[in-house]
């Protein structure tokens, strides 16, 4: 174990800012941002689904941009600001996207949902009123094996506007 080096590295490395809190990070060992969030910081809202950037369960915001934390090395994230699903709500106050997911009943087992919500937040930050096609295209990298896609589209569409009725099935 290269103890000395890691201490030096820690001193030299800027901290990892997660949900507004700075964490010193030891960069001596190569590991993913997902690993650090879940195993070192105990932020388990961000999920592991594939480890290869294919499912979106591990989606977090890095400087406001949605990234796959499983394929992002923690070294790339230090010095930047990371937001996980835990950082979206404040106490009882849910983020509008979280509220929309609750209201649309947009989950079954719920495991994909944190990643979906974070990806949707990034999308809505860029375009507050995306059309169905844009939602489907941007969210296509997030998998819901329970097949809740229609509800999720509905939830995202309802943020900042009234939910459409069911007969206007999202397309």
């Amino acid at each position: 174990m290269p103890v000395r080096e890691s201490t030096d590295a820690r001193r030299a490395t800027p901290p990892l800012r997660v949900n507004g809190v700075d964490h010193p990070i030891d960069l001596a060992r190569e590991r993913s941002l997902l690993f650090v969030l879940r195993e070192e910081l105990g932020l388990t809202g961000t999920k592991y689904g594939c480890g290869e950037g294919e499912c979106g369960a591990c989606t977090v915001l890095v400087d406001g941009v949605a990234v796959r934390s499983c394929t992002t090395s923690v070294a790339e994230a230090v010095g930047r600001s990371v937001t996980t699903v835990e950082g979206l709500s404040h106490g009882e106050m849910l983020h509008p996207v979280q509220r929309a997911f609750v209201e649309a009943g947009a989950f079954q087992c719920g495991f994909c949902i944190p990643g979906m919500i974070v990806a949707a937040v990034a999308l809505l930050n860029r375009n507050p009123h995306p059309g169905v096609d844009e939602i489907r295209a941007v969210m296509n990298g997030n998998i819901c094996r329970c097949g809740g896609y229609l509800r999720i589209v509905e939830a995202i569409r309802s943020v900042g506007g009234p939910a459409r009725t069911e007969s206007e099935a999202p397309r």
Binding site: L43, G147, G148
Partner: protein
């Protein structure tokens, strides 16, 4: 993570000896006696069950217990609603403990869409009996006969006297330690009287889900916990020939366990566990294994005895052979479905922890009591010393019955003297869980010139018996299934055999209709025996504006458009699906619309039922269009999400769900049946569009019609 109780698990102790009140506080407990398994394994009058119990405390809250688990199918909310309904309590005043073997009634497992049918009825009866007891207790205080009392919002009061004297449940329960048994006759409210159930409600736990606070098995951690990995053979059927454990053992903090062919490691950190696993220099002896190309022949040559989770059916009526010989119209065709993977978003996970002699395992499983048996057996301890707790689970779909993981974690934890958690990597999940069986279904049929069916023979190889018997009137039938020795591990899957058998049957019905020049909807209606199913099919045909036709519509100028229908009756649910497809010049297939009609008796939780049907349709589309496990030499060739395609946002067409609410009928399960008509409806639509009959699932593995 409550500490284990001192006494025996409740299912292993008589009701009087259970520490209900020590654990839950004073109050009332209503117990529904179990139905033990008979000599055949089936209880008298239905499947065996462990009964039910509900505690009502001084706080006026009801705590109900079931051995079923929640894997995303929404039963937690639906079952809680039924209890809330009977006790006239707000949903928030009902707590439901699911799948904790120390305190839950014994249960055979969460499969076969039985949660609502069985446990729903048990909890309703138990809650109704508890309600009667509350009225009895209130009668002296209110000075009215029991028959004049009613339950309303956590209080007992005189019927219809909203402003009259009342007494709160918590007051009635105060200081009591009373255990009562559900009497032989009890009258739960009928669905027609439901106030809470059957109405729009959002699922419990929504806030935890959207904030990321919900703790799944893979999120749990205990102080001092180690991370485990299991050494898996490189190919199915491989045996361990030689292994060197020393290099792994030399790593700091690493524990290595070997028992026969089972080898596993645990380390303080998952990365180190991975290193330890690689340091085990294992040598394996492999055996030749069949590849995908020869699989149909292989299964035909390797028949097997039946297995417990799929019964064998041999159903005969009339004389099929002579009816086939006489029939002026006859048809014979073989339909196949591929092995597919469950791909639960959360991979298998287990956490094991010993406190002295007692072991607790938190594991995402659909069969916690069977897990308790397997773990106790493998570890050589008494089942009473093992507690299995099922935390929220990131879906199952029938794929979470295997217990190797729980056993592995328990062995490692014992060896290390610390809690151990194992979480499958996605590749492990693909390769070392099990698959939906491949099916080979052969159908021979005979009909009169006017189309009337006279003979029907269906033979299912390897998938199972579910939905093998069709819903159609045919005087001469033979229906049978033959289990086979699968070279890939296989097991239960959401609607597994029903999907294969319905695909075969509904494709074949379409072929027959085309052959005799009949309209596919009319042809089915003509033969349907079940009025409820016919009603669902009519409703779907009406919704899509079905235009009767005797011959396929296509092929016209591209894109060719087509429409197909299929129906199914399974697990008490009736389903009809209509699919609309387009096929362009390059033969690329696009599913443009799905309409599914579904009826499963009285609807308890409408919003959840709708999302079950939508979600099931999406899942079924994967298996219908492109999902397939590829294999050769005992290895899975596509064990990654980048290589195994599951439905994504852009694969999903508009899905319309028509729910038929039959408040006069008992509520049946809904997690499986809505899937079964999707694949044949799409295949029939492709036939309508192109004239091409596809008899193999997946239908368009590369996105194009082959």
């Amino acid at each position: 993570m409550n500490p284990s109780p001192a006494g025996l698990p409740y299912d292993l102790a008589p009701a009087e000896e259970r520490d209900y009140f020590a654990r839950l506080g004073p109050g009332l407990v209503m117990v529904l006696p179990p139905r033990p398994p008979g000599p055949s394994g089936w209880g008298a009058g239905g499947p065996p069950h462990g009964g039910a119990w509900i505690h009502l405390g001084e706080d006026g809250r009801a705590r109900a217990f079931t051995g079923k688990v929640e894997v995303g199918q929404g039963t937690r909310t639906a079952l809680s609603l039924l209890v809330a309904e009977e006790l006239a309590l707000p949903l928030a005043a009902v707590e439901l403990t699911m799948g904790d073997t120390d305190v839950s009634p014994w249960d055979m497992g969460t499969f076969g869409s039985r949660s609502m049918l069985d446990v729903g009825e048990h909890l309703r009866a138990t809650a109704a009996a508890l309600g009667d007891l509350l009225r009895e207790l209130a009668a002296p205080a209110l000075g009215r006969p029991v028959s004049e009392l009613e339950l309303a919002n956590g209080e007992v009061r005189a019927r219809g006297e909203a402003r009259g004297p009342s007494v709160r449940y918590g007051t009635l329960a105060r200081g009591l330690r009373r255990i009562a048994t559900v009497p032989a006759t009890v009258h739960p409210r009928g669905p027609a009287e439901w106030q809470r159930a059957g109405r729009p409600t959002s699922n419990l736990g929504a806030i935890e889900v959207v904030t990321g606070a919900r703790q799944y098995a893979s999120d749990l951690r205990l102080p001092g916990m180690l991370h485990g990995r299991i050494l898996f053979p490189p190919a199915y059927g491989a045996r361990l020939r030689r292994i060197d454990l020393d290099r792994a053992r030399a790593l700091p903090g690493v524990t290595v366990v070997r028992e026969g062919d089972f080898v596993a490691v645990a380390a303080p950190d998952p990365l180190l566990a991975g290193r330890a696993l690689r340091a085990l220099a294992a040598e394996w002896a492999t055996e030749p294994q069949p590849s995908e190309l020869e699989i149909v022949e292989y299964l035909r040559r390797h028949p097997a005895e039946g297995e417990d989770f799929w019964d064998v059916v041999h159903y005969t009526v009339g004389d099929v052979e002579s009816a086939l010989a006489r029939a002026p119209v006859s048809l014979r065709a073989t339909y196949t479905t591929a092995y597919i993977a469950h791909v639960p978003m959360e991979t298998h996970a287990a956490l094991a922890s010993w406190e002295g002699e007692r072991l607790t395992v938190w594991v995402g499983t659909q069969t916690p009591f069977r897990a308790r048996e397997s773990v106790a057996d493998a570890l050589g301890v008494r089942p009473a010393d093992v507690r299995v707790v099922v935390p929220p689970t990131g879906s199952g779909f029938g794929g979470k019955h295997a217990h190797d993981l729980a056993i592995g974690a328990a062995r490692l934890a014992r060896a290390a003297g610390r809690p151990v958690r194992i979480v499958f990597t996605r590749e492990e999940e693909f390769s070392h869980a099990y698959f939906r069986p491949m099916a080979v279904v052969e159908i021979r049929s005979g009909a009169e010139l006017d189309g009337r069916l006279t003979a029907w023979q269906l033979h299912d190889l390897n998938a199972g018996s579910a939905a093998a018997r069709g819903p159609y009137r045919v005087p001469n039938q033979r229906v049978e299934n033959q289990p086979a020795e699968s070279p890939l591990p296989q097991g239960s899957y959401r609607a597994l055999a029903a999907t294969a058998n319905t695909f075969a049957r509904e494709s074949h019905m379409d072929e027959l209709a085309a052959r005799v020049g009949a309209d596919p909807v009319e042809y089915r209606l003509r033969h349907l025996e079940d009025e409820r199913l016919a009603a669902v099919l009519r409703a779907v045909a009406e919704r899509v504006g079905w235009r009767p036709r005797a011959v396929p519509s296509g092929p016209a100028a591209p894109p060719a458009l087509g429409r197909g229908v299929a129906v199914g009756l399974e697990k008490g649910g009736r389903v009809a699906t209509c699919a609309e497809v387009a096929v362009d010049e390059a033969r690329r297939l696009e599913v443009r619309r799905i309409v599914t009609g579904f009826e499963c008796g009285a609807i308890v939780h409408p919003a959840n039922l709708r999302s079950q049907v939508e979600g099931g349709t999406v899942m079924a589309l994967g298996g219908a269009l492109f999902e397939a496990v590829h294999f050769a030499g005992g290895r899975i060739l596509n064990p990654k999400l980048s290589e195994y395609r599951v439905p994504r946002f852009r694969d999903v067409p508009p899905i319309e769900v028509l729910l038929v609410d039959r408040r006069d009928l008992p509520s049946e399960g809904a997690g499986e049946t809505p899937l079964i008509a999707v694949a044949p409806a799409v295949a029939n639509a492709i036939f309508d569009a192109t004239g091409r009959r596809l008899r193999t699932l997946p239908l368009a593995p590369d996105g194009a019609v082959p």
